[in-house]
């Protein structure tokens, strides 16, 4: 902050006044004053822990979104899964009939069930692949000589 006295005739002061008058004439100044009251309320009500915990939750959500944004194929598959979930049953009270071993065998002749199985079997394969790769990425046991070169 400059400590010099303010010259009321200076260009900067005149310019600031013009801006203020314009804000007053357009009614914006009242809106700004209202907004300032809100800000002031926020500054009274908020503390460090609130900022930290809210941000932490938002960041976790942000990470999830970021992951999704990098996996458009996964989103597409997720849409297929959510649609299938909706079609399977409207609610637990009206769930599909029970199926035993025999019923299961019979269902396996249904081309659509076969198609679903194909998807699930491939999903299991990819799950195994990802687990293998990720286990390596989370392997903290790799011993590195403690001395820096």
């Amino acid at each position: 902050m400059s400590e010099e006295p303010i010259d009321p005739d200076s260009e900067a002061v005149q310019h600031a006044l013009e801006t203020l008058v314009e804000l007053e004439e357009t009614g914006t100044l009242d809106d700004l004053a209202d907004a300032a009251n809100l800000v002031s309320l926020a500054s009274e009500a908020v503390d460090d822990d609130m900022v930290r915990s809210t941000m932490r939750a938002m960041v976790h959500a942000g990470e999830l979104f970021d992951t999704a944004a990098g996996e458009p194929e996964a989103l597409r598959n997720l849409e297929v899964m959510t649609a299938a979930l909706s079609e399977t049953a409207p609610d637990p009270a009206t769930a599909p009939d029970q199926v035993g071993m025999i019923g299961m065998m019979r269902k396996m002749n249904d081309p659509k069930t076969k198609r679903g199985m194909g998807f699930l079997v491939q999903l299991l394969h990819e799950l195994g692949d990802q687990l293998e790769q990720r286990a390596h990425r989370y392997d903290f046991e790799t011993e590195i000589e403690t001395e820096r070169p």
Binding site: M1, D48, P149
Partner: protein, 381 residues
């Protein structure tokens, strides 16, 4: 032909570079034409600014750490090993455990470490405290929690050090915390600096001066500790003055990994062009962050912005274009003013530093940013 891009270091600069490169070169990476790999000697990513709050019990050491694998895109290969030598003519790296690996483009982001052995007040006989790693910050927390009266000295012993604002912030925070606890009348605080003013960045010195005076914080400038007699708790300076302390918090000098000098990338710091960030001594080698000799502060913001430049330049090279993006020296640092207020300072190569007015909002912005950092590391924002 596959382009091998290798990044050394999984800190701020290395992680942002890897994630942004993956996003930028999405087509090439999924087509198998580009392979991005990070080599880091720590499988965890450490966000060091969090350590600053650990001595005050406002953050825990685990808040500063997350597995690199949580933050780095799955299409970036992670190799946990230490690089022991860079052969810039043969374009390969020697690793401590895993032999050697080739590169076409190399980004060095190995950071800086405190040189405690050569800083008076530290080392085996020293009783100086600092907050530049988790253990040290916890040890300082222990001391501060039992410190009810006496003389606290914050001494900037060595330069350069990372985060230019930290010594001033620590002093302001100490004053405000002790006031809150009602102990300030029994605790004297002295801040010392090796130059004739309070800070190497002029506007920060001007900002601190009246605030220190208001808060009854004593200062000593042109104060260069030569030895610290921990038995008698006295600092002896090159200038011939002595200063007694009850609790010494020292800012040690920082140094880069010896890997830089050993690999011919600079005498101490890695020497790079301040605009293109290319090594002065080797082709297709870039440096970012604390490890470089860039004429600006050693701050997270510098590593972050420089990463953006390097990503654009490497992407252009991979695609056979002339790289155009340059780094203008953008630097932003928060400045905690104590009493739940904060300020910030920003500058670049062409613009002189300006310290903004302090407010409660900037204080929260710093808190918010420290949380949001994890999104930054992922290459967002």
């Amino acid at each position: 032909m596959t382009h091998d891009i290798v990044i050394v270091g999984g800190g701020v600069g290395g992680t942002v570079t890897a994630n942004r490169l993956r996003k930028k070169l999405q087509r090439e990476v999924s087509g198998g034409n580009v392979r991005i790999r990070i080599v880091s000697d720590n499988p965890e990513h450490v966000y060091k600014p969090t350590f600053f709050y650990v001595p005050w019990g406002e953050s825990e050491p685990e808040d500063a750490r997350r597995p690199l694998a949580d933050l780095v895109d799955r299409r970036v290969e992670l190799i946990y090993d230490r690089v022991t030598h860079i052969d810039t003519s043969g374009k390969s790296l020697d690793l401590s455990e895993n032999g050697s690996m080739p590169y076409d483009y190399l980004v060095v982001a190995t950071g800086a470490m405190p040189d405690l052995d050569d800083t008076p007040g530290f080392g085996p006989d020293g009783d100086g405290h600092h907050f530049y790693d988790a253990e040290a910050a916890m040890a300082l927390r222990q001391e501060l929690s039992a410190f009810d009266e006496g003389h606290l000295v914050l001494s900037v012993i060595g330069t350069p050090h990372v985060c230019p604002a930290a010594p001033v912030e620590f002093t302001m925070l100490a004053d405000s915390r002790f006031r809150k606890l009602g102990k300030r009348d029994d605790i004297d605080i002295t801040y010392t600096y090796p130059l004739p003013r309070l800070h190497s960045v002029g506007p920060v010195a001007e900002w601190a001066e009246p605030r220190y005076a208001e808060r009854d914080i004593q200062t000593q400038t042109m104060f260069n500790p030569e030895t610290v007699d921990s038995g008698n708790s006295v600092i002896h300076t090159v200038e011939g003055t002595d200063l007694e302390y009850d609790l010494l918090v020292g800012i040690p000098e920082f140094e880069p990994s010896p890997l830089i000098a050993k690999s011919g990338l600079g005498d101490t710091w890695m020497e790079v062009d301040k605009h293109t960030l290319e090594s002065d001594h080797a082709e297709d080698v870039f440096g970012i962050g604390d490890v470089t000799n860039l004429p600006t502060s050693k701050a997270g913001s510098v590593a972050h912005y420089a990463a953006g430049t390097v990503v654009d330049r490497i992407a252009a090279l991979v695609r056979g274009h002339e790289p155009r993006t340059i780094f203008e020296g953008d630097t932003i640092c928060f400045l905690e003013a104590g009493a739940d207020e904060g300020s910030h300072i920003s500058f670049d190569y062409e613009t002189d530093p300006v310290v903004r007015d302090q407010s409660e909002f900037v204080h929260w912005a710093k808190f918010a940013y420290n949380e949001m950092y994890w999104l930054t590391a992922r290459g967002l924002a």
